[in-house]
Structure formats: structure tokens, C-alpha cells
Symmetry: C2
Subunit: 477 residues, 2 copies
């Protein structure tokens, strides 16, 4: 019965994601043309490159709605690491002349071009033997070969289902913004478990840790593996046993997938794959919602950061963690936090605090009595000091004082500390924006203007306020 419903849902989804014959021919023809053009351009620049189609198009695991074409440019080791990006960008630019270009950045720069309506990534790597990796992308052609040799045609659609499911619940994509599952990871999981459904079942049953070692590299040496990898999800790369394909998967994404898998198996629905659009609250609704909420929302808003997306998001997340820690260290209870960026000119950190103003007085624990030197220092420091409200007194075998806090208002704290953001752990490029262009802080309803002006931010904030995963929203109604 449940199986039937799952089958039904999958068939409905497959209709949307399996490329049609026509689309397939079109994409494959374009890919072939691109390969030739890139090879030609390389020759023109005198680079002895091997050009290879990789990625989901090469492996026939792409979604019809998302036909990215990845062309790899394998160059000789004689080209120095530093010039690799530059050389490739030149070749790629030439090969896609006349198309719209964006320079992207993973470990090194690559070119994203839009050709005949398709997104094309042209990525440099070294032509090396397996195991002799010089750059991170050197493995990719081997990944493509590995999957192509093993993934039976009937499994390709299973990979597509898994990818679409992960997209729907927001855990697909290894880029830093997402921190989720890569396409290659989806392929390996499908290979290992044998179907979309079995992957879901495996993750639904996740206890502490999940380890997948397809090639059995660590057979009989699991304790070695446990020492080597610390992540809760480990998928040993079949082409490099020292690498965890899932190392970029953030815990929240892993556990989000686990929760969604479990919910889907109970209540299969197309909504997991295609969640309903978020309808942002109207301005009045937003203001009402913030008023009724009881907590305090702090928005730290700032302008353009000069960085490619992966760097931008890395710095955003790092800074968010630091600021959250800063607030917590000063006694503010940060219930939740998030960041949002249009990747152009507007960036926002949101902190949901239990309260914006906290009590003046706090308990400060001193040393336990058995540490007599520390005790003396503590007594000397706190006895009769203006910051001391009460004590020092002995409680549970240690000295304690009640002292006045330095900051009781979160906005004061942030304003004061962000004057010199670097010292509180704000990442460099963002800190520079704070210093040169400043930042604005809004509390609760003060954000309404910005909210009204920016639909992307409005969608983000509406979802943040709900706090539920989209699939739980639609499933539990």
C-alpha cells in the first residue's frame, strides 16, 4: 500500500525530471560542439590539453530542468598551479566567445558561460595519474569514469529522483552556500544502496554514524577509518580512499535529509520534491507577527562584499558563527540565527534573541576552594569593587560573586564590537565592509522597509520566522 503510493509519487516526479529524447539530443549535441571548441581554443593557445565532458550530462544523471554541461580541460603538469586558472579562463573565454560569462571560484577559478540557453562550466584540471592529484578537480574525470562504468541505465532515473528529492528539501549542492550533497555523492549512494527508496530507508534508519565504503578499502580496518574521518556521514571516495565524498555535508543538511526521508516514507508526497512556493507575508502581517512573537529579532545589514559566491558564503557563515558566539559570551540567549545575501549588494545577518536587553546582574563563578592561590586572587579582585553587586560568597565549595555586566543591550554590544570586527572573529572581507562602508542594525519591525523593497529577502525572512522545513510545512499542514 505504502510502496504503491511511493511508486506513484516517483512516477509523477520522473515525468518532470527525465529529459525527453529531443532535449537529450540537443544537450548532447551542444556538449559535443563545446568539447570541440574548447579543444580548438586550447590548441590555439598552444596548450596540450585533453578535453572531456564530465558531470551529470556525461553520466546521464541530469535533471531535465537543470541541464548543466561540465567541460573539463585536462592540462599538463608543466603549467604552474598559479597560472592554471588564468590559462584556462583564456581558453574557455575564447571557446565561448559571444556568450555571457561569469568567473567562478572553487579551489581555482573556472568559467561559467551561458551558451544557447544552457549553463556551461569550463573547468581546468591537471592530467595526472590516479592518486597523483595536484588540484581538487583532478579527480572529477575519474569520478565520471567510475560512475559510467558501474551505473546501469535503469539506475540513472533513481539518481534523478534522489537529486530532485534533495533539491526539494534543500540539501542538494556541495557549494558552501548549501553545504549539502553533491551530484557525485547522490550517484555513489544510489550505486551502493541500489535504488532511491533504499537510500531513503538507509538514512531514515541513521543512528549515530553512517559509513559507506563501496570498494571495501577499509574492510577489517574500520577503526582506522573511524580515526581518519570524523564526520557523521562518511562515503569513501572509490577513486581516492583518503577522501570523504561527504565531507562538505553540514550536519544540519544531513539530519534534515534524515528527518525528511523518514517523513516521506510515512507520508509519501510530491511536495517533498516540489515544495510549494513561499508566499512572503505582507508588510502588515510581518509587523503583526513580529509584535506577537515575543522574541527580539536583530538584523545586521551591510552592502556589497567583493568576493565570488563560495568565498562570500564562507565568510558569511564564519562571521555569523563568531557573532553568535560573541552575543552568547555576553549573556544573550541566541535562539536562532541565519544569514541571507543577494550575492550582489545586500547582506543580512539575523539573530533571534530571547530578549534584546538582558539583566544587569549576573552570577560569576570563581575558583573552587581547594585552589587557594586562585581564591586569593579572586577575592582581591572582586572584594569591594564597584562592579560587584553581592559577595564574594561561598556556594557549593567555590567562590561566587554577583557582578554587573558591561553590556545589557545587544545592539550596544554589536555596535561597540563591530567597530573593530576582526577582533571578534568577523571574516576579513566582511570586516572591511563594516569598516569602510559601515552597517545598519534594525530591531524587529524596523526591518519592514527593507522587507518591502526586497522580495528575495522577504521570502527568506518569512521562511525564517516559520522556522519549519518546507516539507514539514506542507506535510503537517
Amino acid at each position: 500500500m505504502q510502496r504503491e503510493r511511493i511508486g506513484e509519487v516517483c512516477r509523477t516526479v520522473l515525468k518532470r525530471i527525465v529529459p525527453s529524447e529531443k532535449q537529450r539530443r540537443e544537450v548532447e549535441a551542444l556538449a559535443k560542439r563545446l568539447e570541440r571548441r574548447v579543444a580548438l581554443a586550447a590548441k590555439e593557445f598552444g596548450v596540450d590539453a585533453e578535453v572531456r565532458l564530465t558531470g551529470s550530462v556525461a553520466k546521464d544523471t541530469w535533471l531535465s530542468e537543470d541541464p548543466d554541461i561540465d567541460v573539463f580541460l585536462r592540462v599538463p603538469r608543466s603549467i604552474p598551479r598559479k597560472r592554471l586558472g588564468e590559462v584556462c579562463l583564456k581558453i574557455a573565454g575564447k571557446a565561448t566567445e559571444g556568450s555571457k560569462h561569469v568567473e567562478r571560484f572553487a579551489e581555482h577559478p573556472y568559467l561559467e558561460a551561458f551558451v544557447e540557453g544552457y549553463r556551461v562550466n569550463i573547468v581546468p584540471c591537471y592530467k595526472v595519474e590516479r592518486g597523483e592529484w595536484l588540484s581538487a578537480t583532478d579527480r572529477t574525470p575519474f569520478h565520471t569514469d567510475y560512475v559510467n562504468e558501474r551505473l546501469k541505465p535503469e539506475l540513472c532515473d533513481e539518481v534523478r529522483l534522489l537529486k530532485r528529492f534533495m533539491k526539494g528539501i534543500g540539501v542538494y549542492g556541495a557549494e558552501i552556500k548549501i553545504g549539502g550533497f553533491s551530484g557525485y555523492l547522490c550517484e555513489l549512494l544510489t550505486l551502493f544502496y541500489g535504488s532511491f527508496l533504499r537510500v531513503l530507508e538507509a538514512f531514515a534508519g541513521l543512528r549515530r554514524r553512517l559509513i559507506v565504503d563501496i570498494e571495501g578499502y577499509y574492510n577489517g580496518r574500520m577503526d582506522e577509518l573511524a580515526l581518519l574521518f570524523k564526520e557523521p556521514l562518511v562515503v569513501v571516495d572509490p577513486v581516492d580512499k583518503g577522501r570523504n565524498v561527504a565531507s562538505a555535508v553540514q550536519k544540519e543538511k544531513l539530519y534534515g535529509f534524515v528527518a525528511a526521508a523518514r517523513a516521506f516514507l510515512k507520508n509519501p508526497s510530491v511536495w517533498f520534491f516540489y515544495p510549494s512556493e513561499i508566499k512572503p507575508l505582507g508588510r502588515g502581517q510581518l509587523e503583526q507577527a513580529l509584535k506577537n512573537r515575543g522574541s527580539s529579532l536583530l538584523f545586521l545589514v551591510f552592502g556589497r562584499v567583493e568576493a565570488v559566491p563560495d568565498v562570500l558564503w564562507g565568510q558569511l557563515y564564519r562571521s555569523l558563527r563568531s557573532l553568535r558566539r560573541l552575543l552568547a559570551l555576553h549573556g544573550f540567549s541566541v535562539l536562532r540565527s541565519a544569514c541571507w545575501s543577494d550575492e550582489e549588494s545586500l547582506n543580512v545577518f539575523v539573530f533571534e534573541l530571547a530578549q534584546k536587553r538582558i539583566p544587569l546582574v549576573k552570577c560569576h563563578l570563581g575558583p573552587p576552594l581547594e585552589k587557594s592561590v586562585e581564591c586569593e586572587r579572586f577575592l582581591r579582585k572582586h572584594s569591594g569593587r564597584p562592579e560587584t553587586v553581592a559577595g564574594p560568597y561561598v556556594e557549593d565549595g567555590r567562590w561566587v560573586v554577583l557582578v554587573k555586566r558591561q553590556y545589557t543591550d545587544a545592539v550596544d554590544l554589536l555596535r561597540d564590537k563591530l567597530k573593530n570586527g576582526r577582533s571578534v572573529g568577523v571574516a576579513e572581507k566582511i570586516s572591511r565592509v563594516f569598516r569602510d562602508e559601515g552597517f545598519r542594525i534594525f530591531v524587529n519591525g524596523e526591518i519592514a522597509d527593507l522587507y518591502e523593497e526586497n522580495r528575495g529577502f522577504a521570502r527568506f525572512l518569512t521562511e525564517f520566522l516559520s522556522g519549519k522545513p518546507r516539507w514539514l510545512e506542507t506535510v503537517s499542514g
Copy 2:
């Protein structure tokens, strides 16, 4: 040098606490007369009692300022346990006819009388062999014998110093109100360590636990002892190896003694023995102090509790702990708490809260993802409920929601819960007072009237606000 200063301080103190020859003669003569009168009264009532002087007068360890005379009435086992108090009160009343009387209560009732300006306690117990205890006081005559046989005359003044020191820092007295060191305990410690100073040194060096087994009952069986007694200070009773003489010593008192001993050894001063009087703040000063403090003081005030002091204080402390727990459970940060009583018609609980009103929203942690049944129940319960502010969402491998609290004001919480105090752990007699006579709650400055009217309470509150031990006040001040 330090030793010399300590010696000087001790000599100054001894001048005040060693009884003069005249006083000694007076007290000893009175004690003899009382013994005779009690024996006579017992005979009149047909009770075959052995009358014995016990306590500090019998052992010559009393302080001149505090000459309590303890007369024990050892009665035959044939008198039933239930009638022991009654029989003794009759005899004691007769023996002290014409003096002021107060009935007291330890394990059973005894009589406190004021005869010729001295306080006299007449206490019943059973005449039993050692080890065949029928009531707690049966051991006392054995304690007196044990100390008298071993405490050399030159050590008596050392005991006096220790007692006075403990009085000065507020840790002397085994009654429930104090929860400190008994006189017998002071005697045993002096016996064991050999002098006042060596007792201080031993406690100043306290690490985790201090175990004193004078008679060596547990030689070679220390692990058995560790299982038998759980308290941080264990002094095995020489007349009953199953009893810890220090079992009534509260942790705060023990550690208070440790801290004071350490401070005294560094900075010997008469102030430890005789702290300066607490001068209550004036009404205006109090109001100013409360205003500047930043925290919130809650006073729960109620009237007479029908109970002898030991029962009253037991119920006060128990109720205080329960109310503190109640506040903490509802998210209030209780920095400190205390209770005060005039033991007649006025009782006060004080809670120092970081804040009286707390944020509406709190984080509620759900089950970890691996517990799938609990997770489902959690999602069913919290999804789309009016109390749910945000979520459920997954964080660190478990479900979490932000929910609204039931109480955000500590006064509301207390008023509501104390309607039926028993269910939140308020002790019975106090709960009855709440129910029958009600209670009042004051916040911060609202206490000023009561403060002004009652000097004992004013002294207590002034000391509470400072929060420092008296000796630290005088030493570091």
C-alpha cells in the same frame, strides 16, 4: 611572625571567653543544685532516673559568655518512647518551678528554663548500654565521658577558641537554623588535631573530603567508610562508629569555615571571633541600593507558623529549596535566596532574580533523530500549535521548537502556584499558613515599610544585600 600574631589574637580572645574562677564556681554550684533538684523531682514522680550533668559545663569547654547548663535525665527503658517527653517535662518543670520555661524540641521535647540568670536545658534520655541506643540523646552522656577522659586541661581553652571562632564566622551550632558544627564536634576536632591552630590548618588545606576517625574503627577499611558516609566532612563518633558527628554540617557552613580558616591564617584578627555589628542601611539608603542593584528582589512574607524552632527552620529551608526550584524550572534565573524568621510572627523568603520578567519565548529541545517514535510524537505535538513560535526544526541532530512560556512574571508564577503550595513542595505547616492566612509578595523597594518596622529583618537584609561573609567584610574592607 605570623605565629606570633596568631598567638596575640588568641590571647586577646581567651581573656573574654575563659570563665573566671568566680563564674566557674557559681555555675558549678548551680549545676550541682539543679542535679539534686531534678533527681528529687524524679523521685517524687516515681521515676527511677539517673541525673547527669553533661554538655560544655561538664566538660569545662564552655564560653564565659555562654554558660549553658545541660542536665540529662536518664530514665529506664520501661518508659515508652511516646511518653518520654511528657514524663520528663513534668519532672523538669517541677525541678525548676518558678523559673521561666520554654519547651524545645530536638528528636523529642526537652525543657529550657532560665534559672538565676542562666539557661538550663533539661533533657530526657534512656539509661542504656553503649550501642543499644533508643533515642538520639542517649549517646550524650557517653560523649561527655569520652571527652572528659581524654581532653587534657590545657586543651579546654583550645576548644573554647575553636567554638568562638566558629561563632564569629557563623558556623557554630548543630541546630537546623544554623546547620553548623556542634560543641562535641569542636571537642573531637581539637582532640584529634591537638590545638585550635592545627584544626584551622587542617581545614584550610581541605581538598575534596576530610575524614576523621579518632578511634581508628575503619583502619584498613576506608572504602567501607566511603560507602557508609557520603558527606564531605566525616568525623566518626568514637562512641558509635555508625554515626557521623558532622552529618548535620551543611556544605555552605563547612566551606565557609574552610575559607575563613584560610583567611585567618593569612591575616589573623580578632574580627573573626567578634565581627563588628551589622548596621542596617537607613530606609533611603536601602531604596537607593535596591534601585542601583539591577537585579530584582522578591520577598514572600507570611505570618506565624505553629512549630518549635527546629521544625520551623526545617520547613523554611525545605520550602525555600522547593520555591527556588520552581522558579528555575520556569526559566527564572535565581541568583541567590535566603529565608528569615523572628520565630514568632514573621517569616520571609527572599529571592534575588536576575530579572522579575523573563522573555516570552524559549527554546524547547525535542528528542534526537534516532528516536523515531518520540520524534513523531514531538512533531505531532508541536507542529502548528498556537504556543509554537518557530519550528520544529532540526539542530545538532535533534528536533527543536521555539515555544511561548506559560509564565513570564515571577510574581504571577508564585501567586498562581502557591494557591496550592503542597504540590510545588512547600512544607506542610507553611503551606497551611499560605492557605489559611495568605501571604504577601513585595518586589524591591516595596519592602521598605516592613524593613523599617523590623530591626532584625533590616539587619538580615542588609547582610543579604552585601552577600559577603562578615569576616571578609572586616578583613578586606
